[in-house]
């Protein structure tokens, strides 16, 4: 009986050769295989390349803002004004009062000796070009700040809920549900309208309002990912080998669960900037004349019936806003493809 059912024994030393036997390029040798894989993955599809070029361009604009548009006066974020006239001026019209210093690139690129309003002016003679260049810095500040804080809040609440479970989970998730029933822009508008008289007009009221009503998505997604990872065999295997609970959570569960949240976060930057612009457009947040795309857009409010003539107030900041959001969306997609461990080895 035993002879018939016993398994034929083979030589157990003969194993397949490693799958990683392949030619190694010089770049890979310099960067190491893991970094090389990420870099290569990020620059593989045309969409991701476009996304990175867009974001990179915005970063350069933000970093070199003082060179591109030399600041006028003490506060560089204050858009310089050419007088106080009500009617917007078209792109290319000459700059008369309050003329900024001419930057190095100006003459070679335009062939002119005098500043003109490159992209026109808005109501109150605010220069649109300055608003866009310095508004890039505002966009990065608001986007990154809100996303980092909301992700932190979401991850803490979501992982506590998933890890402890029971009534804690129930309670936290009901809080999430309640917050989710509130209309986002409406609530952010109300809260920042309440905060503005308390703190004065600045970036903070809309940022705090957006954080307060923007963390629930991250909490939900990290919770569900932790719940699904928590019961995997390798977590059990870690417990069997005597690993502490905290280490199990941070070393074994988190790295497997965090990627969907990070992808969502990179997509979220675009959304935040968009919502911030919406709040600005509605007149909430920074003082009038602060360099911010939403603010520039809001200057078009009174001219909205004659946009055939004053199109430049809407079109230029609109294009910039669209490209910024699109850039982050494309980068977010590319990051998902590369960083998600489940996508590894599939390329």
């Amino acid at each position: 009986m035993t002879e018939q059912t016993s398994i034929p024994s083979g030589d157990n030393r003969e194993l397949k050769e490693s799958v990683s036997d392949r030619k190694i390029s010089w770049l890979e040798r310099v960067l190491g295989p893991e970094n090389y894989r990420i870099i290569k993955g990020l620059f593989k599809t045309p969409a991701s390349i476009v996304g990175f070029i867009l974001i990179l361009t915005f970063i350069l604009v933000a970093v070199f803002a003082p060179l591109i548009a030399p600041p006028v006066g003490k506060d560089p974020y204050k858009i310089p004004r050419d007088g106080f006239g009500g009617e917007p001026k078209a792109p290319g019209s000459p700059w008369k009062r309050n003329v900024p210093e001419i930057p190095f690139w100006y003459k070679t690129l335009t062939g002119k000796d005098e500043w003109v309003h490159l992209l026109g002016t808005a109501q109150g003679q605010y220069d649109i070009f300055y608003g866009i260049i310095w508004g890039t810095r505002t966009a990065f500040k608001t986007g990154l700040f809100v996303v980092v804080v909301t992700v932190a809040i979401g991850v803490i609440i979501g992982s506590v809920a998933a890890y402890y479970g029971g009534w804690i989970d129930n309670f936290l998730m009901r809080v999430v549900d309640i917050f989710m029933t509130l209309p986002y822009i409406m609530m952010a508008l109300i809260l920042s309208a309440v905060l503005t008289p308390l703190w004065g007009r600045s970036l903070m009221p809309p940022l705090i309002a957006m954080i307060t009503f923007g963390w629930m998505g991250y909490a939900r997604i990290i919770r569900s990912d932790i719940l699904s990872i928590k019961n995997r065999d390798f977590v059990m295997a870690a417990k069997v080998s005597g690993v502490k609970n905290s280490r199990t959570l941070f070393k074994h569960i988190m790295p497997n669960a965090i990627f969907p949240t990070l992808v969502l976060a990179s997509l979220g930057i675009g959304d935040v900037v968009l919502s911030f612009a919406a709040l600005s457009f509605l007149g909430i947040g920074t003082e009038v004349g602060y360099a911010d795309w939403g603010q520039v857009l809001s200057f078009s409010r009174n001219w909205i019936t004659s946009l055939d003539k004053y199109w430049y107030i809407v079109v230029y900041p609109g294009i910039v806003l669209t490209l910024f959001v699109m850039g982050w969306n494309l980068v977010g997609d590319a990051m998902r493809d590369v960083l998600d461990p489940r996508m590894r080895g599939k390329s």
């Binding site: 018939q4 194993l15 005597g242 070393k251 489940r342």
Partner: protein, 330 residues
Amino acid sequence: MPHDLLNVQNLETRFKTPEGTVHAVNGVSFKLNEGETLGVVGESGCGKSVTMLSLLKLIPQPPGEIVAGKALFKGDDLIAMSPEEMRHVRGGQIAMVFQDPMTSLNPVMTIGKQMEEPLKLHLGFTPAQARTRSIELLEQVGIPRAGERLKDYPHQYSGGMRQRVMIAMALACAPQILIADEPTTALDVTIQAQIVDLVIRLREELGMAIVWITHDLGVVASIAQRVAVMYGGFIIEEAPVKELFRNPRHPYTIGLIGSLPQIEQEGRKRLFSIDGMPPMLYQKPRSCPFSPRCHWVKERCRVENPLLEDIGNEHRVACWVDTSTGSERA
């Protein structure tokens, strides 16, 4: 005279589910001597894995609950231990290998990092020592170019290699007991044989005791010294491996062995199969749990649950019927 390394007494584990309480393990007792290999066989859902997970207190609580019993490991009761004490036993003194090597390794950690973890944890190794030891261990389980392969991620290993890694990790801290929960079930037959050979070789080198859970009687025959057959949350028969195969006494064991295909068999005969399904265990069985499927069933089987009884030759069986004669036992 080897003394008991592990002595499990009357272990009972239940799960509370929305449909009712599931009585998964109903008073299991067994002993494991130093250096001995015990095979635990039985069909799916008979309580094999739950018994072993209960010993290590790895049953999710709730819904699971260990309601009774002791598990004396070198005289200390595992069931009564605090989580902190338990953490030192797990991995350090009792290690476990799971069924599916494809999901038992963390996909985002390199093999090296995962192997070094228990070494640093239980033996206080420095990173350099842990690395050296990991390479030794990988070589010991037959992974070529171990030094390079430490940097690889699990998806770069084949199934058989991953199971080797799991075994290497389990053996990293030289445990006294290795619990192997169907370690060959997810592998194809040639790899199964390699893993069984590997464990036999490592047992000779390291001398640990093994509990090998499986539903493959062939594997049990080649590796175990003693076999316990489980059914419905009970051990229903226990004997040295040769005795069990030569002289199975419980109707369920007879059925199991009879359902194996035999190479020498002439003609085309249908394989024997045991009719029916294993019991659902929503109540603790008061009668013999196998009685609804049993050919020898007697009136007494339906009202009273038999206990394990010694019938000589270190052979214990829980059945009211003496299957060698077909008559009721006295």
